[in-house]
Symmetry: C2
Subunit: 356 residues, 2 copies
């Protein structure tokens, strides 16, 4: 297996990427190809690790790419004009099967655009979307779409539910994961037009599509272990995701402060620190790694923009597992089948009756 890694993407690139690879390589079997300015990577590696990457492992190599897509670049434009950027080169290697997965912490918009334009959508999938992992009571929660599609149609939410089910069954090993539709109430009459129509669509087709749809879920219940997957349009999903991130930060800061607000608290806290640290960890969304861009022909992982070496290490290991579990092949075989084509036409027909 070959993991393609954008060495220039993210707030802490290339240093955090290089250190992350150096750590991850010990625990994975795959090769890792760092894509970016070769001389920069080599120079930084020597500086950071005291030796060449090749000395760390013969499974680490560098593929030169002279350009870099910056955070402020316009996605489509950047993908089309910066042909020799680490991201575009990475996507082309992935497309030409010179790699099995591409990871980047760079410009999110460019990553999604590039994946769709260069790697291509799986036939039958209307909109690929980001599946992210969040903390939840005694486990984790998959959120889809995390923000790839600001404007969605009911068909998209149905397919998000289907893709997320297949992903969880294949990768996380959860048989028939419980799928909830993010809404402001549990009754099927609740929510805006998109959500109400999506509910009806899921209700009608869930069984046939092997989606274990348990109905609407409110943010209040989402974390308490009642669902494995939360489905939302990209706008609502992204608000949900960032709210979790923001509150996670608030928790860490406030907890730290209340533990050190006075000398008694300081002393008192010391014996409890291990459990407090463990708790803070479960609240840190970063512990849950990158998001998968499901619906494109090959595995693409969006690493967190502010990833540090620890997170890159984790995301690389996660990517290897993701490829091993072949969720993307599974998605392809299901969506590209004749059967699905017929079903899709039927579903689209049914939707027209809903949205009138």
């Amino acid at each position: 297996m070959k993991i393609l890694l954008d060495a220039m993407g993210g707030d802490n690139a290339p240093d955090a990427v290089i250190k992350g690879v150096a750590k991850a390589i010990k625990d994975i079997e795959a090769e890792v190809v760092l894509i970016g300015k070769e001389y920069v990577i080599k120079e930084r590696a020597k500086e950071l690790l005291g030796r060449d990457l090749s000395e760390i492992s013969d499974r680490i190599s560098i593929h030169n790419a002279e350009e870099t897509i910056e955070m402020e670049d316009t996605p489509t434009q950047a993908i089309k004009s910066k042909k020799d950027s680490s991201m575009v080169v990475g996507f082309n290697l992935l497309k030409e099967d010179q790699g099995d997965v591409f990871i980047s912490a760079g410009n999110s918009g460019a990553l999604l655009t590039g994946a769709t334009l260069l790697v291509g959508r799986i036939k039958g999938i209307d909109r690929p979307a980001l599946a992210g992992i969040l903390p939840s009571y005694h486990g984790r929660l998959v959120l889809m779409d995390c923000g790839a599609n600001t404007n969605c149609r009911p068909l998209n939410l149905l397919q998000f539910a289907q893709m997320a089910s297949i992903y969880m069954a294949n990768t996380v090993g959860v048989e028939s994961p419980r799928i909830g539709l993010l809404n402001i109430g549990t009754e099927e009459t609740k929510g805006n037009e998109l959500i109400r129509n999506s509910y009806q669509l899921l209700k009608k087709y869930a069984k046939e599509l092997n989606i274990n749809f348990i109905g609407n879920i409110e943010g209040r219940e989402a974390f308490l272990g009642e669902v494995d997957v939360v489905i939302a349009d990209g706008f609502t999903g992204n608000v949900f995701l960032k709210t979790v991130e923001g509150l996670g930060k608030l928790v860490k800061i406030s907890l730290k402060e209340s533990m050190t607000e006075n000398i008694f608290a300081k002393i008192g806290a010391v014996p409890a620190l291990p459990s407090i640290k463990r708790f803070a960890k479960t609240m840190d969304y970063k512990e849950y790694g990158g998001a998968l861009f499901l619906g494109v022909k090959k595995p693409v992982v969006k690493a967190h923009g502010s990833s540090d070496e620890k997170l890159f290490e984790f995301t690389i290991k996660q990517a290897e597992q993701f490829v091993n579990h072949k969720a993307v092949d599974e998605l392809k075989s299901i969506y590209e089948s004749e059967l699905n084509k017929e079903k899709l036409d039927e579903i689209k027909q049914y939707i027209t009756t809903l949205e009138v």
Copy 2:
């Protein structure tokens, strides 16, 4: 001042209401009128407090109402048919100036419908909305709309911003509170059509309307003290609110568990318990009381459905302050002025140019 209180509303009514009043009355100057089945309230009071409410304070009285609007009732239907329900009676007393504020923890939909139908919108306000208070770094955050309006137009979000500013300036005493528009990015091109148009509208009219608009805000930053008010449509706002509630619950459970997962953690945690409890408190949205329904002619407070006696006590005190600060009168004088009428027409005209 007279506080009208729905004695039959909420999961823990009437007991929690009765106990809450008995506690709150010591700390407030207002009279409190409990509205509901008189014989039930009297009986429960004797049972819970060991004496009649009148013996606790001559500022507590009961106004009989034979019916109760249940959680599963259809709002509009319930308001129209249950004329002698504690909620409808409460609204009518409020309308007839036999009270200065109405508090209920009952059926939310019925509360909002009743307030709009019976008390009436302030002229010039297109849609009243719920302003709720949330935890934030070293302070609190006002969220508007918390969920009264599932489908909104840009004009609504502009007016939410204006109402929230006036409320904060008058009640919380924050001069020119910083208003953020809840979005999935900070750039003005981000978000769905509603949010993009609302951004343009706020950008153009904020100054004139004395709104300190600081631009888009992401859930990530919302809690870190960068804004005083978060503006959102009722759907997104409600998702945001319930996500905060849900994560708050998760925090409390997980923290408790990690503190007691083994004997060492148990012992270790003991000295830190005060600061941990204090922290858990800041994470508990319930500590922040009821939500105000702004935009109707008189003060209406939506208490949390699962309010316990402590929360009712707090919400009652909060309501007295709210009335004292006359935010509703301020809203009326602003919106009902001729000047605002002209301005409103101009704004509506401008909106048509946006939404084309």
